[in-house]
């Protein structure tokens, strides 16, 4: 007699797979496009298929594929998928993770696609742009100094060294009224002058801040990758003006190509006698080294950045003393952002007056923005200061994705504010943005449509900043955590009376009393959404309702039997198998299994899935 097999076959057969990691981008654009939901859906589906042990799901950093957000990478295969929808989860697991096949329709090209390389059918995209900083992008080979020189490169330096006194260089930058592009908008010429005049020591340094820690921002990386010599030339001009003998480029570690290009550019400049002893035959000497960033967002803050270059703990310190008096190793130091430096050569070459003729009364020149989120054309854009949000979103951006209604624009990176659609005609410059409760920051612009929950947005940014807080000062360290806890409570439907007021009081203290700019700006997302979208907070707290239908705890999905045709689309889309039912009959949705990912709601062609909010009377 044949003996019965010892074990019964398990009911669910576990597929054999090699261990993999699915990195789901948690950059701003991807979060906006629903990467949080994707993550939940993947985890649930993997659990369902008993694959959780072999396949890990991890949040990843922005990879610059924001135009096809949400993005995920499957490692070790090195495959990147974009525009991933909830209904693709099943397919990715079955075909790729288990089957080892690549899904061609989801694949994104290996190199981030920059707008300048995109087809000219997007003509509207270019019409309103004025390229000063991005003058060479896509037009020259960034690895060729000869190309840069052939396009007026190092002409400004030659002019300065042969015809101008250092003070004249400073005057020209002052005449241009150039302001720092790294966030605060401090007048660059003035900063240079203070540093030049500082008597703290003879030795002076300059620094290029390329830390760029904002999730979803990639303007500085793009500049370093596409035109590194513009930054190098700007720095040499600055060093000449200030009297600095050495410069540092502090580059975020996650930017390997940018690092390679800037190192290459510095070497090439040295070979040409543009760096080193006696530059261009003068008695001016200057050299640059490249420092890899420590990886924390707060290291972009200038005092933390200097501590990090000195090899110390990257935590901010109180100012004064300002870097221009006491910077690196106690010597006067001038720090500017990548984009600020890249603006300098054209200013010296064409004159400050020319530059100051572009822009608004107090903000001159152009600004590079990374336009992302729910907008048709995404990417880096460069526009004159004072261009309105309407022009940026509708003329350049081509309008809101799927022609939905615009709800808000978030500017200035994680610590910026949300500007409501009613202020669409706001001219974008330092003053106007700050009046509206936001900041220029480094130039992030996230377009949000009516499906965005503003409380959830505020929570996302506060959580990011809480994690990035260095922990030194009380308001930022303790306050942000408490703010996040209150926001968590609100989106989970557990908000209490008094929460909104407490949140507001905390936000004010964190803003007023924090030691560095991180804490001082961190409450902006909360304060601006409270200012313009207070009713949404109230709906969450008092009516336990998420008007945008985003906050999961406040939504239940159910099948509307009268509308359901029993087509079974939702059955296939649901990553956890919560929907069942025979063909052509109304389906059942099991609430205990539902992870509220909304995949069924998305795929149903008959509007038979309702995702309404719970009303508590």
């Amino acid at each position: 007699m044949i003996r019965k097999a010892k074990h019964k076959t398990p009911r669910k057969t576990k597929a054999k797979v090699a261990s993999k990691t699915i990195n789901i981008c948690h950059g701003t654009s991807c979060i906006e496009a629903g990467s949080g939901q994707l993550e939940v859906a993947f985890e649930a589906a993997l659990r369902h298929k008993s694959l959780s042990a072999d396949v890990k799901v991890r949040p990843g950093r922005c990879m610059g594929y924001c135009h096809v957000a949400p993005v995920l990478t499957i490692e070790p295969d090195g495959v990147t998928y974009g525009n991933v929808k909830l209904s693709d989860v099943e397919r990715i697991i079955d075909k790729h993770v288990i089957g080892g096949k690549i899904l061609k329709d989801l694949l994104v090209p290996a190199e981030p696609a920059y707008p300048s390389l995109q087809p000219l059918s997007r003509a509207g995209f270019f019409e309103k742009q004025v390229l000063i900083v991005m003058r060479n992008r896509g037009r020259i080979d960034p690895e060729s100094i000869e190309d840069y020189i052939a396009n007026d490169g190092y002409q400004a330096l030659a002019k300065a060294v042969s015809e101008m006194e250092p003070e004249q260089v400073i005057d020209e930058v002052k005449r241009a009224d150039l302001r720092g592009r790294g966030g605060a908008g401090f007048p660059t010429g003035l900063k240079w002058e203070i540093c030049r005049r500082s008597k703290t020591s003879e030795t002076k340094y300059i620094v290029c801040n390329a830390d760029e820690g904002d999730p979803g921002a990639f303007m500085d990386r793009s500049l370093l990758e596409s035109d590194p010599h513009a930054v190098v030339e700007g720095m040499i001009l600055g060093a000449y003006a200030i009297g600095a003998s050495h410069g540092f480029v502090y580059v975020r570690e996650e930017y390997p190509i940018a690092l390679e290009r800037i190192v290459g550019a510095i070497e090439a400049a040295r070979d040409y006698g543009l760096l080193g002893e006696g530059i261009l035959g003068s008695d001016f000497s200057f050299d640059i080294s490249v420092v890899r960033g420590a990886g924390a967002f707060v290291c972009g803050e200038e005092t933390a950045l200097m501590a990090s270059i000195e090899g110390k703990d990257g935590r901010p310190r109180p100012r004064p003393p300002f870097p221009a008096e006491r910077g690196l190793w106690g010597c006067p130091t001038n720090i500017n952002n990548v984009e600020t430096w890249a603006n300098v050569p054209p200013i010296i070459l064409k004159g400050g007056e020319w530059y100051a003729s572009i822009g608004t009364a107090k903000s001159k020149g152009t600004k590079v923005f990374s336009l992302v989120g729910k907008v048709k054309n995404t990417g880096l854009i460069e526009v004159p200061m004072g261009t309105t949000l309407r022009e940026i979103i509708y003329d350049i951006g081509g309008g809101v994705l799927r022609d939905r209604k615009l709800k808000a624009v978030q500017t200035g990176g994680p610590s910026g504010g949300c500007i409501p659609a009613s202020l669409i005609d706001l001219p974008v410059d330092y003053e106007e943005l700050s009046k509206a409760g936001s900041i220029m920051g480094s130039g992030g612009l996230i377009v949000m449509d009516e499906d965005t929950c503003m409380v959830d947005v505020a929570r996302y940014f506060v959580r990011f900043l809480e994690e990035e807080s260095c922990g030194k000062c009380t308001p930022c360290r303790e306050g942000l955590t408490r703010m996040r806890q209150i926001l968590d409570r609100i989106v989970e439907g557990k908000g209490k009376k008094g929460d909104i007021e407490l949140l507001e009081a905390l936000a004010k203290v964190v803003k007023d009393a924090s030691l560095c700019g991180l804490g001082a700006t961190a409450p902006n997302p909360v304060l601006s959404t409270l200012k313009y979208f207070r009713d949404e907070y109230e709906a969450h707290v008092y009516r336990k309702r998420c008007p945008a239908k985003v906050c999961k705890a406040l939504i239940v999905y159910r099948v509307i039997p009268e509308k359901c045709t029993g087509c079974q689309r939702c059955v296939r889309a649901c990553p956890v198998g919560a929907i069942s039912g025979p063909r052509a009959q109304p389906h059942n949705l099991d609430q205990s299994l539902c992870i509220k990912c909304g995949a069924c709601y998305e795929v149903c062609k008959f509007d038979a899935i309702a995702g309404d909010a719970i009303y508590v009377e």
């Binding site: 809480e466 994690e467 009380t474 360290r477 408490r482 004010k508 203290v509 009393a513």
Partner: protein, 216 residues
């Protein structure tokens, strides 16, 4: 005092002379104006982290909120140490720290002084409010630098470098003496210190008076 080194500032309506380089806190204390502090110590480099010492300053029409322990006085500066805004900030800071470390006497006494009755946050159980005095004392006074901050954000903690046993610690006890949290949690702080250094044997405890001593 040379003439150009002397400046005039107004604190809470009183005119004072200040020397160049003096902080607002120093000038205020000389004038007998009390500003509460938590991370400031005369013997240490100001750190500017607790933010309890904030004051309002106006210079040339611009009002700012600054930490008085790290902000130098400037000629013509008008300082106000007790406005509504300042009181609100101080209350919130004590509330936040007390929510983190509910047991610490110095925080409780400030809470009484400020009339704080309710802590609207979930209570933690930390015994260190990260004033950094121990870290600065160990490096600036003792010259040893056996302890430092580790981690970021609310997870920040005081530890020997890289979290491993510090062979640099000489068991002098300076850190524990200077710790302002010590009043109520003497034992914990010592425990903390042995934890910092992971060298239990360097701290002994007298069996008669029950006080701790350095056992090097």
């Amino acid at each position: 005092m040379k003439r150009e080194d002397s400046m005039r500032i107004t604190i809470d309506g009183r005119r004072r002379r200040a020397e160049r380089g003096q902080t607002i806190l120093e000038v205020a204390r000389e004038a007998g104006i009390e500003i509460p502090t938590l991370c400031y110590h005369e013997a240490l480099t100001p750190w500017g982290a607790c933010r309890l010492c904030v004051v309002e300053t106006s210079m040339g029409g611009r009002t700012r909120i600054v930490a008085s322990c790290v902000t130098p006085a400037e000629d013509g500066m008008v300082v106000r140490t007790d406005t509504d805004r300042i009181r609100d900030i101080r209350k919130m800071i004590i509330t936040l720290l007390l929510a983190r470390c509910p047991g610490i006497e110095i925080l409780k006494s400030y809470a009484r002084q400020f009339g704080i009755k309710r802590i609207p946050f979930e209570k933690g159980s930390e015994d260190c409010f990260l004033c950094g005095m121990c870290v600065r004392a160990c490096s600036e006074i003792v010259g040893v630098g056996a302890i430092d901050f580790a981690y970021r954000g609310v997870k920040t903690d005081v530890e020997p470098p890289f979290g491993v046993t510090s062979s640099a610690c000489i068991g002098c006890g300076t850190c524990t003496t200077i710790c302002p949290a010590r009043t109520l949690t003497l034992e914990k702080v010592f425990a903390r210190r042995t934890m910092h250094c992971k060298k239990e044997e360097i701290v002994g405890r007298c069996t008669i008076c029950e006080s701790y001593y350095s056992g090097v």
